[in-house]
Symmetry: C2
Subunit: 249 residues, 2 copies
DNA sequence: ACCTGAACACCGTTCAAGT
DNA sequence: ACCTGAACACCGTTCAAGT
């Protein structure tokens, strides 16, 4: 083992500082306005040091995306801890997705960018493996809730459907919805929260009914469930959104 | 009116030539390998002329994406003409999506890229409007089939769901599925067709059952429907895929 | 009215020199 | 062992000159 002149903790802090600075640049000037030069001038390190952390510009973008997904996994963890039926927990995952995308609009759109060939073609293998791992973790949360549903008899899978297929369906639906609504999201911001929320509940009900996941849409008050989630497991996110709304008015 | 030295037809042909050349470059060197310089050297026109057609590099990417979506709309048109129930037609849309993504892998991934901020931030308004218009056209095909289902009593919408919401759901699901599967698509190519096809049928059945769109999954042989689509409305695409498979072996 | 390509500015990436 | 920033190569974009 060779001796280290800087320890892991300070190295990590430095990386976080570079990433935060890059995110600031993107928030102000857009993804196409991000430049390593701009980041370097706003940070007390040299260009070489930045390239010591990231193999290229796209690698930095993937790192930013991974940070965002990592925090999303945390929120999913809390969603799964919601006290309710397995179907309510699955709805909670969708609401978590929504709140997270509203609180982190800049980072969230990077999740789409990071799936784009111009980024994957250049980003380092290490960070793309990490991305894959984080996505597997997200899918794992979905799989856990599906297992709960099966164990409690609230969900019975048709013979041609595996739990993995179902979790993939749900994920694809959430991803697609938010990706396609993104343009509108950017324009309308927090104001549009309510209609997006209704869409998401409808969307979720559609698929979960299709799966025969009880209780069915018409046998439960799902808007009440969402309110209870907001009061409990998602209280921190709701408070932050409220603070944003207050600041805007 | 000022006199024109070149007519619209030759101008259009030139634009098509530039676009095809750009596509060749991307197919060979990836999106990140695309350079206006490279395109210019492979084309009998100057840089200035290329910039006369496209406001910037990203504008060219959006144009390429729009070309792809335009052809997708054609296939959707044929899918809607499939002789069968409204639910079969809706499944045909999904199969059309799949075949198109397999036949045009390079262009298809550009549909994802074109939704990315680094492209939308720079692309011209004109071409982004065109993109919006083309997407509306796609959604229109879905809406038409939904209307058919409602008119024939094969589909009854719950009071909280509008046709527009349903078509958006279906679209989001398809888009999300293909976006998330894309990485795997690139790796495995045509060989994986069969498993992707099965996923897509399952996926479609899931959502259409959720909508109470008859006939239900278990009351019909959907694989037989798909075979009939391939023999009729999608015969051209199937022949092209077969040619690719033959060439590979 | 349209085309051309030299010229410019900017930016990603490297690496020899320094500590 | 790590940091620095000058230097390089490349590329997007413009525009004066030409037809």
């Amino acid at each position: 083992m060779s001796p280290k002149l800087i320890d892991d903790a300070t190295r990590e802090a430095r990386e976080a500082e570079i990433l935060q600075t890059a995110l600031d640049v993107i928030a102000r000037e857009g993804v196409s306005g991000l430049t390593i030069d701009k980041v370097v001038t706003k940070v007390p390190y040299s260009k070489g040091t930045v390239y010591n952390h990231f193999s290229c510009k796209e690698d930095l973008l993937t790192a930013l995306c991974n940070n965002c997904v990592r925090r999303l996994a945390d929120i999913f963890f809390r969603a799964a801890a919601f006290e309710g039926s397995s179907r309510e927990k699955m709805l909670a995952i969708g609401i978590a997705y929504m709140l997270h995308s509203q609180l982190n609009p800049t980072e969230f759109m990077l999740v789409l960018s990071a799936k784009t060939p111009s980024v994957t073609e250049k980003s380092s293998q290490k960070r793309q493996d990490e991305h894959q791992e984080l996505e597997t973790k997200l899918l794992g949360k979905l799989l856990g809730i599906i297992s709960d549903g099966l164990a409690h008899g609230e969900l019975t899978l048709a013979p041609h459907l595996s739990p993995a297929q179902v979790s993939f369906s749900l994920w694809a639906m959430s991803f697609g919805t938010i990706a396609l609504l993104q343009e509108n999201l950017e324009r309308c911001g927090v104001r549009q929260e309510m209609s997006l929320e209704r869409e998401l509940i409808n969307h979720s009900n559609l698929v979960l009914d299709g799966l025969n996941w009880t209780p069915y849409t018409l046998d439960h008050d799902w808007h009440e469930s969402v309110q209870r989630m907001k009061d409990t497991v998602f209280a921190p996110e709701v408070a932050k959104i409220q603070a944003l709304v207050d600041a805007a008015s």
